[in-house]
Symmetry: C2
Subunit: 359 residues, 2 copies
């Protein structure tokens, strides 16, 4: 690496001042066309690289936007991220991605790092238990925040997520309309607003149909395939003999279906299963998964736009914005056929259960 090429290198080579060079490279109308041309050519010739930290020190705009979610390798977030990426790319912002794995501390670290780097804004799916003060830390230091997928109490920044209660009610109603009356709910926790909303939607739908809500039919757990797979054992062993399951998300649902298949039952026939999110994967699962589209791409797009707007001075989007989910009916749900499958399940399940996979 010869010697670092900077504005002054170009300026000297051309007998101009750095000011002119700076202006020219940014296409300012203040500099003569011919000069601009000469400068730009020279810049390329010398392999000039714009130093953004020097610039941002002066301008206090870094072009950096932070995005932090629970886990970027979770396809649910991945779809949101893709939408955000597309939207931000277009306005030439660099984005820094991070997982917080629901650790409030890791999340705060990220916010601090971002502040140190002079981040222009942050989009976050807040970790469980995020205190309002962490959001304010960002906002108070001039870094606007946008929330996705979850809300934080007492915080009024723009927030985008699916209408969870509505969505699970949709799924539950679908199963009820197929004749199911003993419906379990699998996966997720009650520690997040999402968790409470989803359970509420499920419970409300049952109640409305005159079915008693039985807490024994709730099997909470992580939101992973693995967890769904493992939940199959409990599900099948449940003395109430549920014939259908509303799952927290597609991953859990696919895991559950795998578990059910392992136990010798046919998911979609013997047991009806609904997912949530409508990941790409849902359509090619076997059987293809009936699920609830949760508008990830919309969430991502809206969030990115809201942030960009905010950076340009508007604050119209403050507060909560719910995306209305939609039902995607496929083959993993079918009408209740009394007598089929469900009792044969008892024995085939016991034998296989302990050989189950780990990872």
């Amino acid at each position: 690496m010869a010697q670092k090429v900077k504005l002054s290198t170009i300026a000297e080579a051309l007998g101009l001042s750095t000011a002119t060079v700076s202006l020219a490279l940014r296409d300012s109308p203040l500099v003569a066309d011919t000069t601009r041309e000469r400068i730009k050519e020279k810049a390329i010739e010398l392999g000039y690289i714009y130093n953004r930290r020097a610039a941002s020190l002066r301008t206090s705009r870094s072009g950096i936007i932070g995005v932090v979610v629970h886990d970027i390798m979770n396809p649910f977030y991945a779809e949101i991220l893709k939408a955000i990426e597309t939207e931000l790319d277009r306005s030439r912002q660099t984005f820094i991605l991070s997982n917080h794995y629901d650790s409030v501390e890791k999340q705060r670290n990220f916010i601090e790092t971002l502040l140190q780097l002079g981040g222009d804004g942050v989009i976050m799916s807040p970790a469980i238990g995020t205190p309002a003060s962490d959001i304010r830390l960002a906002e108070d230091n001039g870094m606007p925040a946008i929330l996705i997928a979850r809300s934080v109490p007492e915080i009024d920044v723009p927030t985008f997520r699916g209408d969870d209660a509505y969505g699970t009610a949709l799924a539950t109603n679908h199963l009820i309309s197929l004749g199911h009356t003993c419906i379990a709910m699998i996966g997720g926790t009650d520690h997040t607003s999402t968790g409470r909303d989803r359970y509420a939607g499920y419970a409300a739908a049952l109640t409305k149909a005159g079915i008693t809500v039985d807490p024994a039919l709730r099997i909470p757990g992580p939101r992973t395939k693995q967890s769904g797979f493992e939940a199959a054992v409990n599900f099948l062993a449940n003395p109430l003999k549920p014939t259908a399951a509303v799952c927290w998300n597609d991953l859990v649902a696919i895991g559950l279906m795998n578990g059910i298949a392992r136990a010798g039952l046919v998911p979609g026939k013997d047991i009806s299963v609904t997912g949530y999110d409508d990941l790409e994967e849902a359509a090619i699962a076997t059987p293809a998964l009936t699920t609830v589209w949760n508008g990830q791409s919309e969430v991502g797009r809206f969030a990115a736009r809201a942030l960009l707007d905010k950076l340009n001075g508007s604050s119209e989007a403050d507060g909560l914005h719910l995306i209305k989910p939609e039902m995607r009916i496929r083959q993993s749900t079918s009408p209740l056929n009394p007598g089929a499958g469900r009792q044969g399940a008892g024995q085939s399940q016991a034998g296989d259960s302990e050989t189950g996979a780990r990872s």
Copy 2:
């Protein structure tokens, strides 16, 4: 946001110079213990935020490391990324992530952005067709590069990847040892070194076993579940009636198994399928997937370490480092049973399929 708190704010509040404050906050032994204490307290009290761009302007070390891969939502990369993250976190580096989707241009943009931000180094899985000049661009500007998963011709920077030829040979031999002789290879392209190596390993294993390599048994395609799913049709329609498939990766394999199941055949019994990578998902697929562990976590860890070493002045790791893959045998492969499956497959589907997985 009141007024930006900087070193001088603290200095003034305490009647000291910014130099002392700067030193104190970085725990320099040059400043008296009591002073250091006072300074640190004040910093917290005032909500001081360290300005990294100002600092890095002076020190030319930004603490930023870039990582660019084909697609971060691809679980193969996700596992590598996780390993990198763990390793970098420990040395308090911030990392910026990006997809290039195999667009050389997008990749170059990323490198340029990173240079502008003063990135300390970059870890990349180069896009197909990456010219040596793009790597040199980084290196020549003082930003060392590390390559993962793929090599770039003429480039000698530290490169970490699995031994692909060896790995596919492993899988192919496994199938041969089970009695299969008509073995297809599904997914991937020949435009990457990885692609060529994998095909070579497959071909070599066949040849060594005295089986003729038939190009008609090669079904290239993207490296996704979707693509594997779609390939099932071609695979089953192939007039050579292959009884086994070596798949490019686990995603393709799982997609293919879904496709085979859709067609009424039982993957793992009627058709043997091997994957590649040993993703978490492989163990809980139905049937549990026989696959080749490709050492993603090692690749990530080694790559991160190599970069950190390089930043500290050592350059021992230059050149190619191959990780030796290992076989993971599960239920998606079974001995060839002549006559069974391939034609009479239609009915056998629902019954027994599998007992538990192990891994």
